[in-house]
């Protein structure tokens, strides 16, 4: 921790900053870990109800919500909780993906195993909640498997000009796209999913390029799985968070320096305004939207801003960004992750209870002897 900071700030203020902020220095990041938990030496008070405190502090603010992309703030939780949610979103929210590919014919240049791998990575629009996990010894049923098939052949376009070179016009079906995956409903799947037929999320994913005479005939089975097992089951393109940046100006930055200052941050973080000081208008830098800053620390590279600016981040303010692959709505992915975390906690509590009871029993038995 640099001496400069401690000199310029009051001790209480400094302590408060250490308690709630991650401090970004020129070389390195300070005070990264939270002390906001019970029985931590500095803040434990018998009479504080932590649950109440938590409820008071905790909030979720949705900043931007699109179907497949959302940004929200998770405020007042520990990094462990935020990280757990992130991890679950990436690796433990189940989806459906192609797991088994039966290749009847493949004369394309894409090798069988590579073709199967490519198919596996295609996101499939199907509600995973309505399917069961297929166990290893189970045979496929309409409750755990979705069947797709591809029957594709590339041919010459009879209408093409003699000297045509553009493959788009010369051949028919030379690009095998994901739209060729046709869903074969099994059991009562047809009625069940009448409203939302199962299909690949995107119709224009290139699977293979072909030339006349080449054929692909396959049957593909989708199964339910989680991203932990294979990346194809991950419902998100990415789910991650960052800490809320905070830019503290200790002095007014004016004149040309203001422009330079503004350029040190992501566009829109700092705006240069004309302010009326001592009878004239001068340019003045103002932090308007620290949220979008990428914390590149560019500002700390310049000597002139050394003592003027301090960069910190709010330690319990997580800006989440959940970008879905299109299988599920981003919102649902997050909610699912919360449910999964809940279930995990319940499991853990139950296990703890079990363990406690066991110990108690042991102790009782000891007493008897």
């Amino acid at each position: 921790m640099s001496k400069r900071n401690s000199k310029s700030q009051g001790n209480a203020e400094r302590l408060e900053q250490l308690r709630t902020r991650v401090i970004i220095e020129k070389e390195g990041v300070e005070s990264i870990s939270s002390s906001e938990f019970p029985y931590h030496s500095s803040n434990h008070h018998q009479d504080i109800d932590y649950i109440k405190e938590f409820i008071k502090k905790f909030s979720v603010k949705i900043i931007r919500k699109e179907q497949y992309d959302m940004e929200f703030d998770l405020i007042g939780v520990d990094a462990a909780i935020a990280n757990a949610l992130r991890r679950i979103m990436i690796a433990e929210v189940p989806t459906m993906a192609i797991e088994k590919v039966y290749i009847y014919n493949n004369t394309s240049i894409v090798q069988d195993e590579v073709l199967a791998h490519r198919l596996g990575l295609i996101p499939i629009k199907a509600d995973p909640d309505r399917f069961y996990f297929k166990q290893a010894n189970e045979s496929p049923t309409d409750m755990n498997t979705i069947v797709f098939k591809i029957e594709h052949e590339c041919t010459f376009n009879p209408k093409a000009r003699e000297d045509e070179t553009d493959p788009q016009k010369l051949y028919i079906g030379h690009n095998l796209l994901s739209e060729s995956l046709t869903w074969i409903p099994k059991g009562d799947q047809e009625e069940q999913y009448a409203g939302c037929p199962i299909r690949p999320v995107h119709n224009d994913i290139l699977i293979a390029q072909m030339r006349p005479g080449q054929k692909i005939k396959i049957e593909a089975h989708c199964e339910k799985g989680i991203g932990k097992d294979h990346a194809k089951w991950s419902p998100v393109a990415t789910a991650s968070y960052r800490l809320m940046p905070e830019i503290i100006l200790k002095k007014e930055i004016t004149g040309d320096l203001a422009d330079k200052f503004a350029a040190c941050f992501t566009k829109g973080v700092v705006e240069v305004e004309d302010s009326y000081v001592e009878g004239q208008f001068i340019k003045c830098a103002k932090v308007v939207n620290p949220r979008i800053d990428m914390v590149s620390r560019e500002v700390l590279r310049h000597k002139e801003f050394e003592d003027i600016v301090q960069l910190t981040r709010i330690r319990d303010h997580f800006i989440f960004n959940v970008e879905s692959t299109g299988i599920m709505d981003s919102e649902k992915i997050f909610l699912d992750s919360v449910h999964i975390l809940q279930a995990k906690c319940k499991r853990l509590l139950a296990a703890l209870d079990h363990k406690l009871r066991e110990q108690e029993r042991d102790r009782e038995q000891m007493d008897i002897y």
């Binding site: 991650v22 970004i24 070389e27 390195g28 990041v29 300070e30 990264i32 870990s33 939270s34 990094a79 462990a80 935020a82 990280n83 757990a84 992130r86 991890r87 990436i90 690796a91 290749i103 493949n106 240049i109 090798q111 069988d112 195993e113 590579v114 791998h117 490519r118 990575l121 070179t165 553009d166 493959p167 991203g227 932990k228 294979h230 990346a231 194809k232 991950s234 990415t238 789910a239 991650s240 968070y241 960052r242 800490l243 992501t266 990428m294 914390v295 590149s296 620390r297 560019e298 590279r301 981040r313 960004n321 970008e323």
Partner: protein, 1149 residues
Amino acid sequence: MPSTFNTCEREKLFLNPSSKKFGIPELQKLVKPHIDSFNSLLEPPTKGILNYAVIDIDPVEIFDVKVPYNSPTLGNKLKVWIEEVLISKPFLSEHVRATTMRKIYPAECRERFTTYAGKVNIKLCWKINDGNTNFETKYVGMAPIMVKSNRCNLQNLFPKQLIEHHEESEEMGGYFIINGIEKIIRLLLVQRRNYVMAIIRPSLASRGASYTEYGVSIRCARQDQTTMTNIIHYLKNGNCMLRFSWKKQEYMIPVILIMKALIEINDKGIFEQLVQGEFSNTFLTDRVELMLQEFKSFAIQSKEQCVSFLGEKFRIIFSISPSYSHKQAGEHILKKVILVHLKHNQDKFNLLIFMIRKLYSLVAGDCSPDNSDSPQNQEILLGGHLYGMLIKEKLSDCLNAIRAVVAADIANNRPVDFNDKKYITNVFNRSNMEIGRKLAYFLATGNLASNSGLDLMQTSGYTIVAEKLNFYRYISHFRCVHRGSFFTQMKTTTVRKLLPESWAGFICPVHTPDGTPCGLLNHLSHTCRIITTKPNVEMIPSILAEMGIITRLATGTHVTKKNFLCVQLDGKILGWCESGHAQSIANKLRLLKFDEISIDLEIGYVPPSNGGQYPGIYLFSEQARMMRPVKYLANNEIDMIGSFEQVYMNIACLEEDIIKDVTTHIEIKPTNMLSILANLTPFSDYNQSPRNMYQCQMAKQTMGTPSTAIMHRTDSKLYRLQTGQTPIVRPVLHNTLGLDGFPNGTNAIVAVISYTGYDMEDAMIINKSAHERGFKYGTIYKSEMVSLDEFYDSGIKHHFGLGADAPSSLREKLDNDGLPFIGARLKTGDPLCAYIDDTQGGKTIVKQYKGSEDAYVDQVRLLGDDLGMHEVQKVHIMLRIPRPPVIGDKFSSRHGQKGILSRLWPQVDMPFTESGMQPDIIINPHAFPSRMTIGMFVESMAGKCGAMFGVAQDSTPFRFNEEFTAIDYFGEQLVRAGYNYHGNEPMYSGITGEEFQADIYVGVVYYQRLRHMVSDKWQVRSTGPVHNLTMQPIGGRKRSGGIRFGEMERDSLLAHGMSFCLQDRLMNCSDFSQCHICRKCGSIFTSLSLKTHYQLNTNRAYKKHHIQCNICETSRWISLVKIPYAFRYLATELASMGVKIVLKTKDDD
């Protein structure tokens, strides 16, 4: 802004290959030396080297009676000679009736494992006595043809047609196809031709009692590119002896004898010519005098006497026809071995004078020896020329074979009648004139089977396989030059040293392997050219005469003027000039190079110096020289400079290096000195130099894209990266050579962080999800050949197919034809194919797949016989083995930073950046301080902003300097993209979720997957096969052997005091054995089992005493001991030599 990756242009080239021009013409230039040298064998305008060779082959004279030497009656004379060689393009044999397409294309040879060869016909002429000349066109075999040469059916074809013929779209050729394998004749560095080299070498003194280590040597090249080296030795008494070798034998002749045999000259004349007015130089005059005096002992004076003397002494070893007189023989010998690059005796004489003067100057210390390891005194032996030399020798062997047939007839008293045309034809047919097979043997093995040695220093290692491991390795094969296998054995390292004159543009200073071939196996710089056609230089003598050179030195006592410099053109003395004028003559000549004379002329002006190289103006115009382009400042045009002249030139590297009135040339680009591969290392100027060498090595071991015509390849092993990408960071040369067609790696997000501990000691962590999405996924193609035609002669007895007796389980993998289904998955022991064996009563015989990994059948090729008549007997099966990266596989960046995959780390546990990005690869920061590969950091930054802005970043070395630094250039771009100037980023731990205390260096680095994979290397053994002589475990992975627990390992166990472990490893798990020993005599051999000799009462006693020592004749001292079996073996070996081993024993308790 158009894409800087040229994606659309490349796709256009790919979708619509041109039928008129190459998409990447630069690629064709790389193999030009190979193709052009082959073309020059048969190509006008030089008439074709082979035809010069044919003229040079001596006619053979055969006599029909057995004649004693020097007999007056010789009988009838049959003179046979070759007048012309014709090599045709590869065509089908005329016996093939199946098709009208007669041309054979290389792809067919590769796929059928045959040799790509064309017919060789010679025009064989003969004459009986002095009668009419008859001739016959004789077929002498199939000569392997270089692909894309003027004898190849692919010549002048362009991408579109090449693809139609199953080739690479930008196929370059330059190799031969022998039994389906692509072979290249290696470029070899040899002594520069037609230049007199002064040498001081201890081995010269070993030639005889009075020989010294001084000598001058000249490697004379004939018009047909064959060479003959003449060496003049300096003897202790000042005399000079000329040495030459003939059929690998060395011969010495006094130089005076040769001089006198060459022209009619008296001693005074020789003296004046040698002294050239330097009468005050008593060192010189004394020796010349002595040399002349010593020659008096031969008591021959005139030219005729000398020539006859030579002829008499040497006619036997040169096997000169008895019809020649001694004089004719002598002249013939002078023509054959003395300074063969010169036609006229006067020229030869002049050059001998020059050589002797240089030799004396060397001995006196007035000039320095020439360094034979410097490229200044080297040229390149081109594949085509070597091939031509070999053909020449084999053709002259053909003539000798005819002579041998006749001689055998005479010796066996069979009728020999030259006038009978039938007999002549019969002789021709009986003599072994097949040269095609010999040529193929040479190319297949690289062994030179030659009785003359071709004036070369090695007999093997001339050819290499053009491995298509990846494209980089493939092109490097064509650009590599070897110093000669002779030098690999040498203990001194002087030959391997990097000399300043060599790396200045001709030979790459970076691209050489480390280890045994280091410095001997070099690579040409990417701009280096090799001259393959001799330009017209006939006008040079008259030009020089105009400039005022003296063509004939005045002789006689009145000449006192010294300091004349000799002017030579290709080893022929054109005249002399005053040393003051020499520089201006050289300058004028250089200007004339651009229009009147050819640009390929090399003007080596060696200025007079104090004890430096022997001065003179040496002009070189012949083939095989290395030349490279630089800009001539005088007229701002591109000048070609050679390795000889460069040493005395002033070439600026950059504009600011130009010194007025000194600098004459400037480099076109500073990177011109680098080879192709060295050039491709991004920002190599930022790296510690050995790292760039390592990268050159590793680029050649990378699993990349070997070929774009994999369907038509039959290599025994091919490595392929499925997800190859174009590097974001690449030099200009990458585009020039179209290397995007053959991607060699992938752009990976690389974080430099010490994260899990799994990245210690050069290990690296790969993101598991990236791996699951196909990161670095590779495939290996292996080929299996099944051939049934072992008993072909007695008719076909085997047929591919499944017989009635085949179990139905076979039909899961095999079809009715006995061949596997395409796409079938084979496990160890699965049937690969099956055939019906008639010799076993139609039994179905299954050939199993023996590999340990699962493989898919990729292709099945039916290979017919050459005539296309018989049932298929050969099948080629290509198997495909998927190789996703696994722990233990090797990866490397392009900066010599290799590492082993140590863990596939779950995505959620990987650290993530502000934007949620997670690295594909994590490497440890400790990989950098000691290795100093700053280039990798720069690449990382460049890659990052290149990815952000979608531009290809130029990484050509030497682009930046102290004022314009790379860090600023890329740092500014990063800032513009919203990143940290230095390339760092805040990152959060994927495990705790907290931000790291330090920002992490993250960027995009192009990573290569190397071919070394654990799947090919793992070795494990518990118990297994043992060696049956020592009973110790055998070695070798294939035989499931063990890994040697050697002396050093033993030492470490001893040092740790781990005696039990030691006992266990070296005894119990190795060759543990038990044997009986007689404690009295100490022998392990004398104890014998004597069951029947004793009448024993109890079973117990029998057990105890049934073994007795044969010498001590008692069983009292017998006990059972544990000894290593190898010890028993040692004792046996010693016993067989009469050495007895006595073991002393002690009671255990």
